[in-house]
Amino acid sequence: MSSKTTILQQIRDAKPAPRRLPNLPPDPSPDPAGWEEAFREVLAASKATFVAPQNLLDYVKGSGARTIVSTVAGIDGTLDLLAIDDPLQLAGVDLAVLPARLGVAENGAMWVSEAEAVHRVLPFITQHLLLVLERKDLVGTMHEAYRRIDIAATGFGVFIAGPSKTADIEQSLVIGAHGPRSLVVCLR
């Protein structure tokens, strides 16, 4: 008997009587102003910073980053992502500017899929990350977020809620563990 058959059979012999799936809470009523405030607050607590839309271009120019990649229209990178076939070639990226598809007010998480990042490793390997999010794409809770996105639409997608961090040494917060050392958000 294959291991699969064995395991499934053992489950059938052992499992409890059927239990119904509960209903999930409905979407909260829209509160754009409140959501934006909560979104900014929670991201700031995670050490993310914000840049205003009118300052975006200047920010990227003045960032001091030598190697920049961008998939946001109107922001030019120094490296053409489509010309790269091995993700290892992204090891030198200083700043990645990517659109986020959706933002969640309650925890600051922003959805970035393979479609926006082109290379899956990009939002992680870059030294600094800038995400651009449209105000209209803010939702209240994670429940709503999962109703709005199709997680299987691309091969990979991630919610990002701050710069990479660790507290593994005596619970001291250190920003920049393996991924980006900073996260800047442009809400427009």
Binding site: L8, I11, A14, I151, A161, T166, D168
Partner: protein
């Protein structure tokens, strides 16, 4: 050796015990702060618990659905009945690709299966990439906590370790500096690895994908750079639909560290272009636990660690005192089911205060299960004499009213007159660190009869 003996060793360093206790309590307090922002927290826990109940009652169908969807997505799914088969499968994949060095992010399942040791004896270099895991790997130690593997170590010890292993400045112990050193060291490993292994937080039956939650971004650095990605999961990690992730992502990080969500919640559904994606589904005793009506709830665990952070015993005895992959209250209800003789005493590593059950995001009745394991341990004759004999005596006394009255009276007199040595001796472990309260002259019964009788 028993948990009590190992805990006694931990307790020898009182200052360190206090520090450990305070560190964990700090995390527990952050959890409290974070959930206070969610007015519907209790109903969210109920949802988490109800979804998991449904999962357990329909586990076979969900796993089959998962395999079907994942396979259609181009993912290769494997099944392992036990740790050994799991290890062989993983090694087989690596061998097939001629891989001799891999990076691995946190996975309690691979700890449980002893994957690192197995692969190393097969000549494969395994590098744990979560900072805490890398620290304990360099020290050749097991993790002492499921979320914060190096919570038992002081920064000076980590500084000395990094000086020896990674060449950092002698005496340097600044967390920022040490983390930067680890970042540089591990970046090289990420760039060189040809295969990456991760654990799985959630697997979605409806979509055939898996979700991995981290703060550091180490799992993603590994998985997206290496051509071969392998995700190892216990059968209980399955959830029915994508929308259920809304419930569990809201519960997990808040319970674990007090964060509103982990920095990265990564959803993997298909291999990267030109790459390979494997999922290994492991039983290793879980179906046996599923068949134990009193204990199957333990399979609902989402490994947040909250029960450890809140446990007065865990906080003051350290994760290593449990001598099991998963320490703390949840480990103490999982491990007796694996080996009752070896781990049965863990059922007693608790005050039964119930704090673990109170904080558990999926409402596992942890303390009640601890109590039930105690009865099994005792019935199967695994109770030490120091616990068994007094309980036997107490049982007899409590069953007989006159005897109870007499023994009470005798004890009150005897304890007043007896020399200290009669109570505090080496056969009475209880007396080692406790003082008896002052002995009252009359029993509660006598006091009640005297004060409550209406005056004539």
């Amino acid at each position: 050796m028993t948990h009590a003996r190992r805990a006694a060793k931990f307790l020898l360093d009182e200052a360190r015990t206090d520090w450990h206790d305070a560190s964990l309590w700090h995390v527990r307090s952050k959890r409290d702060g974070s959930i206070s922002g969610i007015p519907e927290w209790e109903s969210l826990r109920q949802l988490g618990s109800d979804i998991k109940d449904n999962v357990l009652s329909n586990l076979d169908a969900y796993l089959e659905e998962f395999e079907e969807r994942a396979t259609a997505n181009g993912v290769i799914v494997h099944w392992a009945t036990d740790a050994e088969e799991h290890n062989r499968i993983v090694h087989g994949i690596l061998q097939h690709h001629g891989v001799d060095r891999i990076v691995k992010s946190k996975s309690m399942l691979t700890e449980e299966c002893g994957l690192n040791d197995y692969l190393e004896t097969q000549g494969v270099e395994v590098v744990d990439t979560d900072l805490g895991e890398r620290i304990i790997q360099l020290r050749s130690e097991p993790p002492s906590h499921i979320v914060m593997p190096a919570i038992h170590l002081k920064k000076e010890e980590i500084g000395a370790l990094f000086h020896e292993k990674l060449g950092t400045e002698p005496g340097a112990s600044d967390p920022q500096y040490l983390t930067e050193a680890a970042r540089q060291h591990l970046r090289e490993k990420f760039l060189a690895a040809r295969a990456a292994i991760t654990g799985v937080n959630f697997a979605i039956a409806e979509t055939g994908g898996i979700v991995v939650c981290t703060n550091e971004g180490n799992a993603d650095m590994g998985v997206h750079l290496a051509p071969v990605q392998i995700h190892c999961m216990g059968i209980e990690k399955i959830i029915p639909r994508a929308e259920h992730l809304g419930v569990f992502t809201r519960l997990l990080a808040r319970s674990a560290t007090g964060q509103p969500v982990t920095i990265y919640t990564s959803h993997h559904h298909r291999p990267k272009p030109g790459g390979e994606m494997h999922v290994v589904i492991v039983d290793n005793g879980r179906t046996t636990q599923l068949g134990r009506e009193d204990f199957r709830n333990s399979l609902k665990c989402i490994r947040c660690g909250a029960c450890m952070n809140t446990c007065p015993i865990y906080r003051r005895s350290g994760g290593h005192s449990y001598d099991y992959t998963i320490p703390g209250p949840i480990g103490s209800i999982l491990s007796p089911g694996i080996d009752l003789k070896k781990h049965g005493d863990l059922a007693f590593a608790s005050t039964l205060c119930g704090s673990c059950s109170d904080v558990c995001p999926v409402k596992i009745d942890i303390h009640e299960q601890l109590y039930k394991w105690r009865q099994i341990v005792s019935a199967e004759g695994h109770l030490g004499a120091a616990k068994r004999l007094p309980l036997l005596g107490a049982g007899t006394v409590l069953r007989h009213d006159t005897l109870y009255n007499f023994v009470g009276q005798a004890a009150r007199t005897a304890l007043r007159l007896a020399p200290r040595a009669a109570v505090y001796h080496r056969f009475n472990a209880w007396g080692e660190s406790r003082e008896l309260p002052e002995i009252p002259r009359e029993s509660f019964k006598q006091w009640y009869a005297r004060t409550q009788n209406p005056p004539a």
